[in-house]
């Protein structure tokens, strides 16, 4: 079953600040099928989070704006939704899990109150049924003493417990898609694994598609079906997870992979890094954004923006050099 659920085409989200126009997302296209888990990876500031916020149109009012592109969700044009439709779209069709569970719940209301409030905005039920639904949802995510937890304030729960509550809230309306924006970054490693397992289980049980935003490639290997690598607001590589693992093609992806510590490698071995820093997002869009850090960059990279091309079936790469005859070989240039 590979029916498209979310289709994003040439999405551009810019931020208008006093210092200039920052092209946070500059032409991103991808597709998520029903029940699929897609990952977006990239370093901080690459536009992963802005992409996800753009999908539910939750951008800072006044400064952030979707300037072009289209977002189609299950036959609905998201960019054409009015305020009221947008509210129901956000709660019911797509739900979002944020990075820091401790700050994603309001500190001044009890967990149960926040859950029932959400249930009652989504469904026409009385307070008692809402309470019961909330309790059931908490049990589903593995919280055993649900009653007692509902009577707690968020600060009385641990980070992992909070994230479970948030996941429970995100499945209340049986959404078609969950956007998880770095759901495990703020948690410790053992809890991370539990939360990821839980997300995977939600996918198995409810056929929910998940858009997983992370900067951790390990999480991608564990969770995702397809993956998009972003750099400076652009897609640099987009393919299936196994393709990216076995045959990564973009030099930036190579850099990311090389900078991952490997189990069993010599402990003395120095971890490789990508030289330089990402470009200023106000100045991008005139050449390949990665050209100033790319060891393979040639003249064309510094003057023409590379297009995202399907180099192999289902494997999209935005690189001039990789598109040339013969292509590039990973590790073909001495990086030191």
């Amino acid at each position: 079953m590979s029916e498209a659920l979310l289709t994003v085409k040439d999405l551009k989200t810019y931020f208008y600040t006093s210092g200039g126009v920052s092209k946070a997302v500059d032409g991103v296209s991808f597709q998520i099928n029903r029940g699929e888990i897609m990952g977006i990876v990239g370093e901080s500031g690459s536009g992963k989070s802005v992409t996800s916020s753009s999908i539910i149109r939750l951008l800072p009012a006044g400064t952030g704006k979707i300037v072009s592109g289209s977002i189609d969700f299950d036959g609905t044009d998201v960019l054409a939704l009015n305020k009221k439709e947008l509210l129901s779209f956000r709660g019911k069709d797509v739900s979002m899990i944020f990075q820091n569970p401790m700050t994603s719940l309001s500190p001044v209301f009890k967990v149960g109150h926040q859950m029932t409030e959400l249930i009652r905005t989504q469904q026409k039920v009385d307070r008692q049924s809402a309470c019961r639904l909330a309790e059931e949802a908490l049990m589903k995510v593995g919280i055993t003493d649900a009653r007692r937890r509902m009577d707690s304030y968020p600060y009385e729960l641990s980070g992992g417990m909070c994230q479970r509550v948030i996941i429970a809230m995100s499945i209340l309306s049986s959404p078609k898609m969950i956007i998880a924006d770095e759901p495990t970054t703020a948690l410790d490693v053992t809890i991370q694994a539990q939360v990821l397992d839980l997300l995977k289980e939600m996918r198995e049980t409810y056929q929910t598609a998940i858009l997983l935003i992370t900067h951790n490639l390990g999480v991608v290997w564990k969770m995702c079906d397809s993956v998009m690598v972003m750099y400076a607001g652009k897609t640099v590589e987009y393919t299936t997870c196994s393709n990216l693992y076995h045959n990564p093609l973009h030099p930036y992806t190579w850099g990311l992979l090389d900078s991952m510590p490997r189990l069993g490698s010599e402990s003395e071995e120095e971890l490789s890094t990508i030289q330089g820093t990402p470009p200023d997002l106000r100045l991008t869009g005139t050449c390949c954004n990665f050209s100033n850090r790319c060891p393979y960059a040639s003249e064309i990279c510094k003057s023409v923006v590379p297009e995202l091309k399907e180099l192999e079936p289902g494997h999209f790469v935005a690189c001039h050099r990789q598109g040339e005859e013969g292509g590039l070989m990973r590790g073909g240039v001495d990086q030191t």
Binding site: L87, S88, G91, N100, S106, S170
Partner: protein, 317 residues
Amino acid sequence: MFKTILIRCLQILPSLFVVVTLTFILTRMIPGDPARAVLGPQASVQDVQKMRETMGLDQPLVSQYKDYMIQIAKGDFGVSYSYNQPVLGLIAKRIPNTLLLAFPSILIALIAGLLIGVTSAVRQGTLVDYLFMILALVGVSMPIFWLGLMLVLVFSVHLGWLPVLGMGSMSSGIGDVIRHMVLPCFCLATIPTATFSRITRSSILESIHGDSIRALRARGIRESVVIWKYALKSALPPVITVLGLQLAGCFAGAILTETIFAWPGMGTLIVGAIDNRDYALIQGAVLVIALAFVIINMLVDVVYMIINPNVSYEGGF
């Protein structure tokens, strides 16, 4: 929580002791002689001396202080020289008048301030926001005596809509008292309204840029609920701090407003007492006001704990 409240209650005693001592010393430092103030400038030196002896002012300060402390400990606030009445009775008569003016003013200021503050914050950077904040600035900076006089000039003298001064009397109906309250209440509410507006605005701005508000929006909660329920509740603590101070301040009466409108409240009572060197009355009034301050501050702390229970664990009293 109850333990915290108990500890706070015990902390009241030393504060009050300090207040009583300081007021005792300060009243003795005001130049002028209470006996002379009571008898008038025509009285002979002998009469004044006699009066001083009856008032106990011929005793050394230390023994006066000791007597006063014992008296206070017994709950006796003494007798006012100038009114020749028990101090406590005088204060008890004036406080309701003062509160009649103060509570409605603070209530109006609180409601108006919250409305203005939240609206400004939600529309940050728009014309509405600038307009409200300029008004708030004017409100804080305007001298109250000038505002009071202008209000009287316009609404009482020129338009003749409202009475010039006094508090009317219940015998001519509650409407009469309310008509007398309008101008002084407006006057008294101006500064608190402006203060509440500014504090609410900055506190709401801080809370609506937080993650939890973003998460609420992402979950499709209506914007009005997000702002008026979630953002407002987490933004309340600083507003409540100011509210507590303002409420406590109420008990001291509004000296300027009460004087302009000849309102028989605590403010005019204290000013009169200072003029007459009425030691017992000054000390008694200050003690009552201080008591109001510490009790209300304690209540503010309790309200904090109710709004944000996290406080009681982090506060570390």
